[in-house]
Amino acid sequence: MSSENLVKHLPNDIGGTGCSGDKVNIFERDLYPWEKRCHALLDVLDYHKIVNTEEKRRGTENIGTEMAGKLSYYEKWIVSASNLLLQKGLLTPDAIAQKTKEVAARYNVIL
């Protein structure tokens, strides 16, 4: 692939790039409770004009190809939101580190 194509198409811009052999995996499932909370949280951040939909989408694009390939849909969303909140100076890395430790301990999880 020429480097020019990388400039023209950002990672999420995949319209038309698929192969016919990659069949659509058609199935139904309910979201996990945390996924729905994550969705709702991002909606609330949009209402407050803290993180809008387009910023969130760009945030999922800015996590790098490896992470983009390995994380699930809402895993990308919460990572994107966390990065944006850090960039905007609304949260600090220390506060997130301390809080995740505290939450993990609450559920007897070792991170």
Partner: protein
């Protein structure tokens, strides 16, 4: 919930319950939410209220819009010219400030909706999208070979019908107004609504009589 939390007061809420041990990303979600509440950037009840709003939205709302459009030509005109206003008329608020556009199928044209960049979808009308709508395969292939993708959903569009793929954006959301199947002249509103599934409003399926 504690025993002294009486429910004779006027607030509705869905308790947030964690059943299994959370993984890393769930812990991150809990942490970010709690930090934002502690800092006063969002209200303590807002996420729960938004979950209730999300839960109140389902394709049944879209089905009602479609059937009303089938039965009332004047409503169909209003729905096609201004989706937001027509939805509001039916008591459906477009809570996410997006522009809602309804695309009408004809005997010679069939629409399919996709979001190639991510997962934009008319959530206030249809609820949250299915996983396949957000998948790389659906997003990357639909604009190039819509008929092949539709065939995977069991939908075969005759060659003399044009297939038009509409891509969505963060501010522009679309829904298909499918054709009313012939042979439904005597159907009640409820019977018609049952034919209008979520997938017929995304355009990967068409309304059919005798569905399972």
């Amino acid at each position: 919930m504690s025993k002294n939390h009486h429910h004779d007061h006027a607030h509705d809420h869905t308790p947030i319950i964690i059943q299994e041990k959370p993984g890393y990303y769930e812990i991150l979600e809990i942490s970010v939410r709690e930090l934002l509440i502690e800092k006063g950037l969002i209200g303590a009840d807002e996420v729960r209220k938004q979950i209730e709003l999300l839960d109140s939205r389902s394709p049944a709302l879209g089905s009602k819009l479609v059937v009303k459009a089938w039965l009332e030509p004047e409503f169909r005109s209003r729905l096609l010219s201004n989706g937001n206003a027509a939805a509001e008329e039916m008591g459906i608020t477009i809570y996410d400030n997006t522009e809602f556009t309804v695309l009408e199928d004809t005997e010679k044209l069939h629409y399919v909706i996709v979001c190639t960049l991510c997962s934009c979808y008319p959530r206030p009308i249809l609820g949250l999208p299915p996983d396949w709508y957000k998948s790389k395969e659906y997003r990357s292939r639909t604009v190039r070979e819509p008929r092949a993708v539709l065939a995977e959903f069991g939908t075969l569009i005759p060659d003399d019908v044009e297939v038009l793929v509409q891509d969505s954006t963060a501010s522009q959301r679309y829904m298909v107004l499918p054709l009313r199947p012939s042979g439904t002249e005597s159907f009640s509103e409820e019977e018609l609504e049952a034919l209008v599934t979520r997938d017929t409003m995304i355009g990967v399926s068409i309304p059919k009589i005798n569905q399972n």
